[in-house]
Subunit: 380 residues, 4 copies
Amino acid sequence: MTKLGIALIGTGFMGRAHSNAWRQVSRFFETPLEPELRVICGRNPETTREAANKLGWLEHSTDWETVVRRSDIDIVDICTPGDSHLPIALAAADAGKAVFCEKPLANSVAEAEHMRDAVVKAGVVHMLCHNYRRAPAVMLAKQIIDEGRIGRIRHFRGTYLQDWIVDPEAPRVWRLEKAKAGSGALGDIASHSLDLARFLVGEISEVAGLLETFIAERPLPDSSQTGPVDVDDAALALMRFHCGAIGSVEGSRFCPGRKNYNRFEINGSEGSLSFDLERMNELEFYAEEGPRSGFRTILATDPSHPFVQAWWPPGHILGYEHTFTHTVLDLLRAVEGSGPFGPTFEDGVANQRVLDAIERSSDAGTWRSTNIQGPREGAK
Amino acid sequence: MTKLGIALIGTGFMGRAHSNAWRQVSRFFETPLEPELRVICGRNPETTREAANKLGWLEHSTDWETVVRRSDIDIVDICTPGDSHLPIALAAADAGKAVFCEKPLANSVAEAEHMRDAVVKAGVVHMLCHNYRRAPAVMLAKQIIDEGRIGRIRHFRGTYLQDWIVDPEAPRVWRLEKAKAGSGALGDIASHSLDLARFLVGEISEVAGLLETFIAERPLPDSSQTGPVDVDDAALALMRFHCGAIGSVEGSRFCPGRKNYNRFEINGSEGSLSFDLERMNELEFYAEEGPRSGFRTILATDPSHPFVQAWWPPGHILGYEHTFTHTVLDLLRAVEGSGPFGPTFEDGVANQRVLDAIERSSDAGTWRSTNIQGPREGAK
Amino acid sequence: MTKLGIALIGTGFMGRAHSNAWRQVSRFFETPLEPELRVICGRNPETTREAANKLGWLEHSTDWETVVRRSDIDIVDICTPGDSHLPIALAAADAGKAVFCEKPLANSVAEAEHMRDAVVKAGVVHMLCHNYRRAPAVMLAKQIIDEGRIGRIRHFRGTYLQDWIVDPEAPRVWRLEKAKAGSGALGDIASHSLDLARFLVGEISEVAGLLETFIAERPLPDSSQTGPVDVDDAALALMRFHCGAIGSVEGSRFCPGRKNYNRFEINGSEGSLSFDLERMNELEFYAEEGPRSGFRTILATDPSHPFVQAWWPPGHILGYEHTFTHTVLDLLRAVEGSGPFGPTFEDGVANQRVLDAIERSSDAGTWRSTNIQGPREGAK
Amino acid sequence: MTKLGIALIGTGFMGRAHSNAWRQVSRFFETPLEPELRVICGRNPETTREAANKLGWLEHSTDWETVVRRSDIDIVDICTPGDSHLPIALAAADAGKAVFCEKPLANSVAEAEHMRDAVVKAGVVHMLCHNYRRAPAVMLAKQIIDEGRIGRIRHFRGTYLQDWIVDPEAPRVWRLEKAKAGSGALGDIASHSLDLARFLVGEISEVAGLLETFIAERPLPDSSQTGPVDVDDAALALMRFHCGAIGSVEGSRFCPGRKNYNRFEINGSEGSLSFDLERMNELEFYAEEGPRSGFRTILATDPSHPFVQAWWPPGHILGYEHTFTHTVLDLLRAVEGSGPFGPTFEDGVANQRVLDAIERSSDAGTWRSTNIQGPREGAK
């Protein structure tokens, strides 16, 4: 099988998750091309060397600019904080590499557009890593919607709730710095809900946003001093979709007991769907069928469910990291020519427009347009 | 035991539920005074006579104006559509009767204030029937909050979802007429969520609302013609509370599979609570207690739980109508002098201010103040 | 409407539940005859007088033998401990009254047969109060089975778990005395599961039982002394049904957190059903329909569901005591001539045979026949 | 790091699962020794070659007898049907290799004892793969029990339900042949429940069993003929434990909708636990703490929970195959000298004794001793 050279930039949580996906994808799926984990890049030489050993990379480097131009690299996988997505993506596109980027695509609409323009101009494959689209239960939701089984969509209700900074003594990590993370719960977690909303319902036309920071000052990591939190602790919005549906979204890291509660409910004219990432192998589906109707819990582990056949028999559940494996599988397919597969950088721009409109609306206290023109669909 | 004469105005769904409460309360609770179901009033003589027989009233009448002035009537219970609450309440107050009124209190803030002023001036006991406050699980939530067990409240998330008019051929009943009902999902069901928000979290200071009507024309009942729907099919709002919490609320009758899904979640700095009326005997409670923490399902049927001791042993669940029985129990206590118990007509005014602000905000496309001044508490 | 005189023997928990059913049935249902709560009988004059007042009975008496012969009494309702069911039922039958009896019918097969023979010989209406048959969700399960929607039944799995005597200091009440109660968890709660097994699956042919007493000595109520517990704390059995299905049943009062966990699951060749009394308005139903199948939660509150139309709109749940109201409704129908309705005293005999076989099997350490001859059905 | 040579015998479902565990363990955990996937053995050369490529093995062979004696092999991992466990284990022990064996250990007590004796005599590390012990939620249950938080155990209730042969046209695969599989649902799935019972509660002293075959004849795979099913389709048993607890267990493949429903509930004198493999990241825990008690859902994804720290942040769930990774981690630790870790072949013998007693009891129609002498504990 033809090998494909992968370079991964970033050694943190996402670096670990992507490394696993690259290692595992050809062990379970018939991939058109076999990824080879060639180089992992990080800032700290020692940390990067250890990550390479641990995560299974052939080489390691602190010089991503050189790496992304190497002729034996085919895909550049960006797992760094949001403030460095732009330069890496531009360099990779310029070098003619396929670009795979963690979400959110960028820290502003302008950056996102710049990146989108670069990959389009370079004619390279581009994909954004909103991995939850590829939980089998979410893909099944998409199929059920596309088959018309819940009819015309009227409501989307998305929440992504966590509790890891409820404690006011939790440190001011980079995700709480606007310069690095762009925003707080909005870009980190609400963005997942919004990507799912766009994936499952369609484009969002206008929003009313509410951003709130509960704890404005926190201890700096490895320091006896405190520093400001200049991102949102919680982000809420009401939304109107181009298709006529209405909805709401909320991201918060201040919800005790909610560990990774990425939940959505969609109501159509004929039925409803709901999903909760903490039970990510399950999809709740209601079809109006008279007095024996009820929300049914579909355990999305049947060989006929998306991506499942490669794994285990029915009832043997998948874990969090499988969603990344499914995503890189489709990226490989895109590189091989079967693509593009969404979310692309076009989706990244649209997602960023929604985040931006929520911020603008929250500042202004009025509804704001997303400046997304119509109900067009992204890539499959 | 001293008997108390009750007059009930209205023979519909609420009339049935209130009649049951009046019949049952002294069979289970030690009531300070024994209610006697003296007169039920309706517009149609035949229907009213049948209702009296069926529901256990001694007399029936089509002339509520005379009835509410009778000397053998002590409490006037108003179960009519919202457009007639005002005149009945004014007459009852004028006659010195205790007034018990179905929610929403009125169809406008001005009406609500008029009613509140009348009962205050007359010095009569007044109570609004937001029965869900008195589900034992909701009262338990209130206790847990008051004990500080979830800490400082940060989030309220309320939804009240139903599906009874998803079918576009469902008839244009009075609840879909603005002149009679005042509003649609907003006043009918979102108002319950908002009352619970005020009960459990505190006063709401400002809102961003979104009202939507999906089906603008429906068949008229008992007619071959159609008529306009001039109320909202769905109502959403973002909210800020005086205490610093933020929240959202949604009422919709367009959610297939959700039959009576009055659900809320509250997140505080130390824990969380959630409740779903479809499982009204259960309260979900999360207290942060380290790695053995989890949302616990409290089956609110212990003798120590509010109102439960009068009923059955643990695990023998209560039904919908019990919430009314508990409400009239506290009304009797208020009449006997142990009150007032909320929600009073003061709460009715505050609730109406929130509904009004949501409508104004939805019209204007901007946040609107509720004109509620501070985090004051209603009656117990 | 013709009135029917009711005499109720017993002022305890069941007396309260039956009184409520008699009071409420004609308020909600179109009953063929109207029950009148004529006399309640108890042993203690004061307690009985108070019960009469509280529960709505016209008269009270300590002399049930006279009462059951009064010409103005039509139905005798037996709510006493099991050791007195026989004499009351015999006297009532002898007097030509319809007999309604709490479960278990008797404390032995011989007693049960004696009672069954007496009512059959007297030609009076007889009904056993296994109220859980008439939870709407259970009736719906019966309908689904009868329609063949789960196919041929293969498995029944019943548990009835409580926790009220986990504490070894809980007093030795009458339910823990063999002379009064007949047995412990077996007759008190496992008997409910067994009645449901017979109702939904069919007759049981043989069993392997296991009875266990964890705490053999307990404080006597209102005493400083202790007394022996000579009934089972937990009762388990494996079962074979005449229809070829196999199953298990368990009753225990030693399961912390299980308050009234009367749960069953039934698996057929085409689908499955499960029910839990703590969520008694819900039925879980799985129909094999390919990859979009899942256990669906039917909220059994639709007007088309059994008994529901008389109550509230969809999603407004019923409580424990409603099951009694439905049972006396069918008893009234039986008296009016539309019956018999099960469970009858024939069912009581069959139930007792199963309890007896479990006890014999537990003693012997081998399987035992129930001595029930075939898969015959009881009354509707 | 020192490398350890692994030889895996078997290329089927379990071969895939074990291969993944060997590949992944050092990528996430700090393993004392690094496993190298040296040789995979199978019967069919082509299939085995493909498996080697796909699953990441350096070599492949059809001659396990030679392979298990190679000096570069340290651990022999047996993933074949039960009828070949004995010869492979004996050869591996004789060659001084650590032996890792899929469950059930053997097809009879005699075989199991033979294997146990061989590994003990050879002084080699031995471990049985009952992977579900090492789901974090199950390990957490063990910790909670060992801390005494549910008190003295009274009840164990285990079911392992699937539905993959409900269809009578499902083929007669090797798992339905007694000669190969030893038994049906009993050894395949009920054995998991029994191993968990022994792990969490203690040794089982006697049982009353019931084995049933619903479909006695099925189509042979790749054939137009049918063949007999000579194993049980469902296996049930009542149990007594040496510690005084009582329990039940059931395995069935005839439960529509139950895909991999390995569920247990344990009730002690102070609390209860329950677990369901279909939601394997959750543990239900009830501690008696007064009127705010309830079953709490612990999402067993906290870094403090067993094995979790190596994976992802809280709320990012693990999948089925992670249980194997945890098992081989402990096997590596045992080989390095930190062990033994259970389940060992001693546990395999005890498990086999229980399976055997259930079969004997089912044949005889009476209770049977397991011939396990006391409440001893296995390895950690």
